[in-house]
Symmetry: C2
Subunit: 130 residues, 2 copies
DNA sequence: TGCCTGAGTTACGTAAAAGTCAATTGCGTG
DNA sequence: CACGCAATTGACTTTTACGTAACTCAGGCA
């Protein structure tokens, strides 16, 4: 199955393991804009890609509002200089937020390592070979 | 001010920028267990450290329930072999979850870079020196 | 003694992000 | 054509993570 022109809503729910309600909710929130044939939604590859980014944002703990902001940044840059500079500033802010998250992540990973070491040591004390 | 024996609830709210309501809520949820003098809560350095970890979990987008699980892992390892092995397995699972988050993070950072490049390029086209 | 001040408890409220349910509607097919 | 099935819309519900009263209590101090 090569690159498809359209995906149905249920195809996407299966692929990304979300409900139809969720996809419609994201549409109400202005995150995705699938085209329509009659009333039924048709998702293009770009919509699918966008959904992937949205769900990634969710996994990172961003709210819908924050995700909406981030989506703006992925869009075509505006034509006006002031707007462009503003957008660059906001991109920098988001990047800083992500870097903070990365630090949190590394710290948490480090502490998990310590916790595991404790467990292994305890096992060794009990004479269990790992 | 060296290492203090106890911190009051308001001291912690100031240090970590959370409300007293939040701290009491976390206690209700079984995340922190400060000692008491009469009815007033006294937070030890270990409680303070734990709070730091809780808030880091929040920033990473974990729910209270997930944070509760993670806290279990930071605790003293259990004495029984089966429990120890179980805990190690769960630690590995959490680590995998964190690594997925790290991948998400790196991807998102990469796309922000692309978005910024687009903006810079657009600025260059408009003859603006950055 | 009267009054702050900081802390506590109980109870109710709320916003975000969906889940659930009911009532249609359109489409392909036997 | 009637049927079943997938989709749609709209209304209502739920869960999570606190916020917001409203009131009480103990200690210090003028």
């Amino acid at each position: 199955m090569a690159v498809r022109e359209f995906y149905s809503i249920t195809e996407l729910t299966r692929e990304f393991d979300v409900s139809t309600r969720t996809l419609r909710f994201y549409e109400d929130e202005g995150l995705i804009h699938p085209v329509r044939r009659g009333r039924t939604r048709l998702y293009r590859p770009a919509d699918r890609q966008l959904l992937r980014q949205i769900l990634r944002g969710k996994r990172l703990g961003f709210s819908i509002a924050e995700i909406r902001e981030i989506i703006q940044m992925y869009r075509e840059p505006p034509g006006e200089v002031g707007q462009l500079k503003l957008m660059i500033r906001r991109i920098d802010e988001k990047r800083e937020a992500l870097r903070q998250k990365r630090r949190d992540l590394e710290d948490a990973l480090g502490e998990l390592d310590l916790a595991e070491d404790n467990c292994l040591e305890r096992l060794a004390e009990l004479g269990v070979s790992t």
